[in-house]
Symmetry: none
Subunit: 113 residues, 2 copies
Amino acid sequence: MPTDQLSTTFQALADPTRRAILASLTTGEKTVSDLAEPFDITMPAITKHLKVLEKANLIERTREAQYRPCRLHPEPLKDIDEWISEYRKFWEASFDRLEDYLKELQTKEKNDE
Amino acid sequence: MPTDQLSTTFQALADPTRRAILASLTTGEKTVSDLAEPFDITMPAITKHLKVLEKANLIERTREAQYRPCRLHPEPLKDIDEWISEYRKFWEASFDRLEDYLKELQTKEKNDE
DNA sequence: GCTATAATTTACCAATAGGTTAAATAACCA
DNA sequence: TGGTTATTTAACCTATTGGTAAATTATAGC
């Protein structure tokens, strides 16, 4: 429940229903009912998920007659991408060590022949 | 509280103390006391944060005398990076072009019906 | 064996998260 | 006007989170 932007974004993404909603919005604007359709939970639960996404600034909402269409607002994902990019070298480094290890194994095998 | 791996990782990252702990581990292995030092919270709170990070597989722990050194295990971040990369095209497009893109997608969908 | 340090476990607390049902609001349609 | 559909709000419940203080375990050094 920390209030900083990055924590709010990570928190919003830490739920499979909310990630599925975002994925659904990648194909265009959707109404709440559209978004709710694939899930086995009630409308109020969907409304709550949408509020979390809206507060995290990951979706935008408008009004059209009795509908409240949602669309993707991907900008906060950029901040996460930047945060995570600081760590990219660490998992790439682990991969390099694995390659070294595999090469070493192959060399040993050849010596054993 | 969902149990899928991606949710667990996002959840673990949704706290500034835990992200600071990970950042601290980028400069090498640290003891629990080392990690606790910058924060104004008690040791048990740090222990809990470390458990969250360990369950999310973001750190590894060993034993050395009375110390329990921690080190970074960055692999789960790779999964997040892959998840987020699906959204990169959405924030890379300018706001106007994003709208165009979504409209175009919807048009295509209609044509496919 | 005694004492100090490192870290965890236990028991507790308040706030939040994610869900529910039932009621309320908003806009369309006839 | 009244009825139907879309969505939200209110009230509630349970489990989890992030924190605490106090007690416990593990190890080192004398």
